[in-house]
């Protein structure tokens, strides 16, 4: 066991492991690219949807159940399915990651919107605010902490799952996990897993720091 961790330490700090197209630096950049792009696309789909159903209160049943359905989809199965339809491209990876991230963002956005005190919305309307003013100036600011939580949740899930890009021949930190398993190189597998965990935790800490900085004036 000690030997294993010593080798893992050597693997993580060795200079050659960090350089080149199979180096940690490059794989890390790929991993961040996949994760951030997928989360952004998911946010672009899920945020308007969550705000809309939260504001109108309509379609919530359908949207929340569709989101739960999305959560239950096995990611690897989805990757293989899209792969067989689209061929060898990044499509299977992005479709699967976006499908994974959308539910968390939709449900949290919706939850944040419904948690806004109805009296406050009523007062806003009573003051003569138009619907978009109520949405963007009253509901959205009040719902933001929960919306941010949804985004963080989605990003962590996506970072942890972006390893599947390696399953369909692409890069990212999953490369170490899949290659290590196939080549019986336990140190490589562990190294990849540790790096993924570190990236997920680091991104979450960064986002929560950002969240605190943005909303310092009220409890999150």
């Amino acid at each position: 066991m000690y030997e294993l961790f010593k080798n893992l330490g050597d693997w993580l700090v060795s200079g050659e492991q960090w350089s080149g197209s199979d180096g940690i630096g490059h794989r890390l950049a790929e991993h961040l690219q996949y994760s951030l792009l997928a989360t952004l696309v998911a946010a672009a789909i899920a945020l308007p949807l969550g705000l809309l159903i939260g504001h109108t209160g309509r379609g919530a049943f359908l949207a929340i159940n569709l989101a739960s359905f999305g959560r239950a989809l096995p990611t690897v199965g989805l990757v293989v399915l899209v792969f067989l339809a689209s061929g060898l491209s990044m499509w299977p990876v992005y479709v699967a990651l976006v499908a994974l991230a959308v539910p968390a963002i939709v449900t949290n956005t919706y939850a944040g919107m419904t948690a806004v005190d109805p009296d406050v919305k009523d007062a806003a309307r009573g003051q003569g605010m138009r619907w978009h003013q109520v949405l963007f100036q009253v509901e959205l600011p009040l719902a933001l902490p929960l919306i941010m939580t949804g985004l963080r949740l989605a990003l962590i899930q996506v970072v942890a799952t972006a390893t599947i890009a390696a399953y369909v021949s692409f890069g990212g930190l999953g490369r170490y996990v899949f290659d290590g398993l196939a080549q019986r190189d336990l140190v490589q597998v562990l190294g990849g897993a540790v790096l993924v965990a570190v990236v997920a935790v680091a991104l979450d800490l960064a986002l929560s720091a950002l969240q605190r900085a943005l909303f310092r004036h009220r409890p999150a």
Binding site: V80, L84, D179, A182, Q183, V189
Partner: protein, 310 residues
């Protein structure tokens, strides 16, 4: 499903220590005729174990069918797992007989062995197997690694053998499981033996839906498959020949505990080995995987048709 899974499931593979080779169990290889060695007896019955994929189960039931016909009482324990489970089980006496593959078994018991030719491998196996185990004569059927291209690719580039790939160096994309990139029977050996260099290597799966889908769609030009894969025939893919014997033979070979290896068992299994061809085995796999038939029924029907079981 394929032979390579025998080498270990994902997690088993990551933590498997190589089984220490022990050469004290040299056994005679005269198969088929005469008395068995070492006084083994199948009188009390034989337990057959099989690995966790279709073909191995079909083979296990085929063994059972021919042994039953020879008057040996058999029990089949299907789907026991990978070699990491099966070999200790046969050594420990939980099972007595196991359908194996020459090259893969040899690699398991002696990873350093360089033998690739059938006779050589049989001798190497006899030396490397742990005491108490022996292999019987290998059969005609073989489930080995293959490098295949689509018919269109073969015609376009004039490909018939692995040596032809060299003429297209830097142009073709190879698709296979990740381990093939660093394996002798893979990118490394193709370069050393045939001087082949690919434009790119795509890490996909082991003769599974990804690599076959990619070959079909033209995303990869050369794919690593297994010879008994039914999709090769169905899609009319061309398996490149291997004139330099880079790929070790993977003839089906019965691995048996010495305590059960008597002449009745040897004779019955040798007969089966002489009848069952690679094409037959591929067809039996197809019946199970594509037609969803029961492996035991498929095996019994084949044995009856070939007159191996009454």
């Amino acid at each position: 499903m394929n032979r390579r899974t025998l080498l270990g499931g994902l997690f088993a593979a990551a933590s498997v220590p190589a089984l220490a080779a022990c050469s004290s169990g040299i056994t005679s290889l005269d198969g088929g005729s005469g008395a068995g060695t070492g006084g083994g007896s199948s009188k009390s019955g034989i337990t057959i174990g099989t690995a966790n994929f279709t073909e191995n189960q079909v083979l296990g039931y085929l063994y059972a069918a021919v042994l039953d016909a020879a008057g040996v009482k058999t029990t089949v324990r299907p789907n026991l797992g990978t070699r990491e489970i099966l070999i200790p089980a046969i050594k420990g006496g939980d099972i007595d007989l196991l359908p194996e593959y020459q090259g893969a078994l040899l690699h398991y018991v002696d990873p350093k062995s360089k033998a690739t030719e059938e006779g050589e491998m049989q001798n190497a196996l006899a030396m490397a197997l742990p005491a108490g185990l022996q292999v019987l004569p290998y059969g005609r059927a073989e489930d080995s690694d293959a490098f295949a291209v689509t018919r269109e690719t073969a015609e376009k580039y004039g490909l018939a053998s692995l040596a032809d790939l060299k003429k297209q160096n830097g142009k073709l994309v190879m698709g296979a499981a990740p381990e093939v990139k660093t394996r002798e029977v893979g990118v490394v050996g193709l370069k050393e033996v045939y001087g082949v260099e690919f434009k790119e290597f795509k890490s996909l799966d082991s003769s599974g839906p990804l690599v076959k889908g990619a070959l079909k769609k033209g995303d990869v030009d050369v794919a690593n498959l297994f010879t008994t894969d039914t999709d090769i025939q169905e899609n009319q893919w061309v398996v490149l020949t291997d004139p330099e014997n880079l790929i070790p033979g993977q003839h089906i070979v019965p691995l048996i505990a010495d305590r059960r290896a008597d002449s009745t068992v040897r004779k019955a299994l040798a007969e089966l080995g002489n009848v069952l061809t690679t094409a037959d085995l591929t067809e039996l796999n197809r019946q199970v995987d594509k037609d969803k038939k029961d492996p035991e029924d498929v095996a019994n029907a084949y044995a009856e048709k070939k007159g191996l079981a009454a």
